[in-house]
Amino acid sequence: MTQLLEIRDLRKRFGGLTAVHDISFTIDVGETVGLLGPNGSGKTTVLNMISGLLPASGGAILLNGEKIVGMAAHRIAVRGVARTFQLVRVLPSMSVAENVEAAAAFGPEKLWGAAVRGKALACLDRVGLGGRENEMTAELTYIDQKRLELARALASDPRLLLLDEWLAGLNPTELATGIELISDLKRDGMTVLLVEHVMDAIRALCGRCVVMNAGRKIADGETGNVLSEPEVVRAYLGESHA
């Protein structure tokens, strides 16, 4: 398999606190990797450093062999990294279609006119928002806002998709739909890094998992094995369960 993302000794300090402590892992093309860990273990910080939202304090991030650490977020986006956010971020004053057009217009292809519209509609179709392009974003339900965020991420033709708790807060039916949606992307060959707490989703989607605790990597391997490792169980459930 070809390596798409390589993270080497990645570190993030906020003042005296080291939120991410020399993390290293890789993701191959077409892989879906889960990034797990208790709250506050530094998962979102890792994601933020990959997408360029936060500068790293040390270490390297390579996308297809190119160093992207220290690059501005928009330049990383154009190189094929797209993401969703833990607290869903849609563009409230714009229509559903415009939300997605924003990504299609400034992504690697820089589409405009009919092409950008077509691309946006196709992405909306893909996440199950077909025919709703003229609705106002602020009026969408929570799951639909999440779908919209995913459509926007897809519109920039990502090589690597970062999903930050995209399945959190969904009811069981919505969750099943959500998992199905990500499975479809997987089948199409998308490479996904998934920060997630929903275990059913992790088992269904991730062949491999990286587990963090208190800023350090404590496990990395095939999902079934990783989830039963004593240190992982201890991190999630406490000493007595290990």
């Binding site: 928009h74 409230p92 004053s93 924003a102 003229n134």
Partner: protein, 326 residues
């Protein structure tokens, strides 16, 4: 070009022609009014060019306006007029780039305060320079042309400003600005270079504002920092754009025309209480028409676009409520 657009262009062209010929039929006082009107429509439109979509509320209008006026005052006897205008635009551009690079990372109220301080700083710098270096505070501007020429120049600048604004609104740049106004984090993750986009628009807006100051300068004959760096101009521009609607092409003009005429009347009628009334009006407009007249009209008389956008606060609010649902 579709039919409706062609009609709008035709109407605009006829209106422009009528405005261009107006000085031949009007007296000096009315021409003075037209100069004020076109000046403020241009200022408000230029202000909205940057501040409308990005929601960066700038109070630096008078800094650039004053720079334009002072450049003319300083250079009108040294250089031919077109070169004076070019010099004013270049100085405005240089200041805008320096200010933009250092401040566009500031968000919200900090940006507002900085721009307000900037205007004051420029005024103090010019005053200091005049007193300590040139030894005089005031300067005279003698031009060989009359108010009609000033008016025609402003009319041309206004037309160019509206055309730029129209062009940006239909362009990728317009979309980028809207996304930035909604959420800068999303914008940058969509691949938008937010720093460059904001800087470009801030500079463009500043150059136009500088030119308004430069073109209007000969109206004063005598110029000193207290006159051309009067902060009221920044507030008037802001309130006009807000009243009309800073996110619509015609919004700033819709606000500028009635407010300018109202201010003219008020300042003539109540010279002592003028600023109190101005303040009350400002409050009233923000409360009653937060999205401006243009958005209000669209909401009231049939909705063309699915865009009930109001200025600033409401969209932030809707994001908060979306977050709160988690």
């Amino acid at each position: 070009m579709n039919g409706r657009l062609a009609l709008v262009f035709a109407v605009a062209l006829v209106a422009l022609a009528a405005l261009a010929f107006a000085p031949f039929y009007l007296g000096r006082y009315q021409i003075g009014l037209l100069i004020g009107l076109t000046g403020y429509v241009t200022l408000a439109s230029a202000w909205a060019l940057f501040s409308g979509p990005t929601r960066y509320v700038s109070l630096a209008t008078v800094a650039f306006f004053g720079i334009g006026a002072y450049t003319v005052a300083a250079l009108n006897e040294v250089l031919p007029y077109p070169l004076v205008l070019a010099a004013a635009a270049a100085i405005g551009l240089a200041v805008a780039l320096v200010v933009g690079l250092s401040t566009l990372r500031l968000a919200g109220v900090y940006f507002v305060i900085f721009t307000f301080g900037l205007a004051e700083l420029v005024r103090q710098l010019v005053t200091w320079y005049e007193v300590n270096v040139t030894g005089t505070l005031g300067r005279y501007i003698f031009m060989s042309f009359g108010p009609e020429q000033i008016y025609w120049q402003l009319l041309a600048l206004m037309t160019i400003t509206l055309l730029i604004s129209w062009w940006i609104g239909r362009n990728r740049l317009g979309l980028a600005l809207k996304v930035i106004g909604d959420d800068e984090v999303v914008a940058t993750h969509c691949g938008i270079d937010i720093a460059r986009t904001k800087l470009a628009l801030f500079a463009l807006s500043a150059v136009i504002i500088t030119l308004v100051g430069a073109i209007q300068a000969p109206r004063w004959t005598y110029v000193e920092p207290g006159i051309v760096f009067n902060p009221t101009l920044s507030f008037l521009t802001l309130i006009m754009a807000l009243l009309g609607g800073a996110n619509r092409l015609w919004g700033p003009a819709l606000g500028a025309v009635p407010l300018f005429l109202l201010f003219e009347w008020l300042s003539a009628r109540f010279p002592d209480h003028y600023s109190i009334i101005l303040g009350l009006l400002f409050i009233l407009i923000v409360f009653v028409l937060p999205g401006g007249v243009a958005a209000f009209a669209e909401r009231t008389f049939g909705q063309r676009k699915p865009d009930p956008q109001t200025y600033g606060a409401e969209s932030a609010l809707s994001r908060d409520t979306a977050d709160a649902r988690r």
